[in-house]
Subunit: 154 residues, 2 copies
């Protein structure tokens, strides 16, 4: 099945570039990354802390199917409403290190928008460790879920 | 003149790797990056904010020789005392973007230590813009200054 989310991970680079067009207004897409209640719904994580401001930070937690706790945390370097978020992201106790993430939100029409996400790793090796997970399928699935949940809420 | 600070910037990579051995105990070297009064001395910047903790942040300011204000800011993703700092760093109003910086501090002997610093850019282009500045000379000069000031304070 065709995946709507495009993922580019070139050999020997330490970044992953992700793009997706959503049938959602850009304001709603931005909320999916900045409002704790919406994040909890589509990411399926518990939001333990979400201080969304310049120099803010966040802490998420979830469990894998075996009941093991998985924790995520990061800082908000800065943001521009409906346009951009620059943050760090770490999946704790995994060999992926800390990532710098840049989210760019673009209005395409009143009802459609595009997300460009750059995930930049500490090294090529850290990135390649992460790509051993079903990364492309996972993010496409998460984006489908995001779009589905927010389409219902419109 | 030989530069004590080693700077590696491979073609087509989006990182700069910096290493330097200091005639300073690791505890003192770590303080050079975590105590505002010492940062002000060797960086020559005014420290406007320095909240050094996990998910903390900082804001520095200085002026160029023409009197133009130069501002820097970032977040502290996390740290381990005398071992590691992971933070973001941005030189404002410059085409270098936001960097992810990893500092690793290593004790070599009671009186000597090594710093390994990785600076990871949003893209190869952002990094190459920064390298147009006299980057290698600048960081070597700053490290010399750091070592000189802290040697006197011992």
């Amino acid at each position: 099945m065709e995946q709507k989310t495009n993922v580019i991970a070139e050999d020997d680079k330490q970044e992953i570039l992700i793009t997706r067009t959503f049938d959602l207004p850009v304001e709603l897409l931005f909320k999916a990354y900045t409002e704790p209640e919406i994040i909890e719904q589509w990411m399926g994580t518990k939001v333990l802390k979400f201080d969304f401001q310049k120099h803010g930070s966040f802490q998420f937690s979830t469990s894998d199917p075996k009941g093991n706790k998985i924790a995520f945390n990061g800082t908000i370097h800065n943001f521009v409403t409906n346009q951009k978020i620059i943050r760090t992201f770490e999946m704790e106790n995994m060999p992926f290190g800390v990532q710098l993430e840049i989210y760019e939100f673009e209005k395409l029409s009143k009802k459609t928008s595009r997300l460009k996400q750059s995930v930049i790793y500490q090294s090529v090796n850290h990135r390649d460790q992460n790509l051993k997970l079903p990364f492309k399928q996972g993010i496409n699935w998460a984006h489908n879920r995001l779009e589905g949940i927010l389409t219902k809420s419109k």
